[in-house]
């Protein structure tokens, strides 16, 4: 898990002003699931991503609350409509205080 927290973002190669753009993002993360011992869940500090935020030029456009019933190495895709060029920033927060960020520059063709 040396790569834990590595964020990959894919955007279309050519974007025109006013297009609705589909962004695909992935973060390397174990997303621990609840362990059980004798049928009872074990209370420990499970490591998983519980919050994802997407901001464009500092303005939040999407926020997600995620649980451990999202797969390991969580993948999210969403759309957004850029009206001006700028920086898309995706932030993943996990329950151990980890903060993983990825950015993608949006330029108009």
């Amino acid at each position: 898990m040396a790569e834990i927290g590595k964020v990959r973002i894919r955007i279309p190669s050519s974007i025109k002003r006013g297009d609705v753009v589909r962004v695909r993002s992935l973060v390397i993360h174990p997303m621990e699931i609840v362990q059980r011992r004798d049928g009872k869940p074990v209370d420990k500090n499970y490591l998983f991503i519980h919050k994802v935020t997407v901001a464009y030029n500092g303005r939040e456009i999407l926020e997600a609350e995620t649980t451990q019933s999202i797969s390991e190495n969580p993948f999210f895709s969403f759309t957004f409509k850029p009206t001006e060029p700028g920086m898309l920033r995706i932030t993943f927060l996990d329950t151990h205080g980890g903060k993983y960020e990825g950015t993608a520059e949006i330029k108009f063709a």
Partner: protein, 172 residues
Amino acid sequence: MEARREVGRVSRRAVLRVLGLLGVSAAAAPFLAGAPGVAVGQGNLGALQPEEKVDATMQRLFGGRPIKDGSSVIKMELPLIAENGSVVPITVEVQSPMTPASYVKNIYIISDKNRRPLNARFSLTPDMGAASIGANLRLGETTNVRAIAELNDGALLMAKREVKVTVGGCGG
């Protein structure tokens, strides 16, 4: 005066006894958890989604609010048969305008048979241009998956689909 001191002594003894018990349980815990070295006693189990039936989840999230059938406006894409329950791709698209006056505020993804049914909640904004979300789910067994869209005026729309899961992928 004497009585008060007596009280103090008794309570201190009680405190020590409790501490002793905690010490014993803390020593035993690593064996129970099967993972020595893990900090026990500061878990976040209580902060996770509660283990409950899907009806309880719906009640908790939406109260008694009416949920309309949204199968004509919510387009869910997910496999009919998922061989591996630990990675089940889903996309949810709500055909709705995304303007500040009328947009989809939240999309909830709920798997009926998972021990903790809520998979994820997405809070959308009009800047997104379209209400379309994709993610990978973990499904414990063959289950209905529901996508519930909450519009900005508070209306709730739901679509659901069954996914057959060959190998479960969710312990929690």
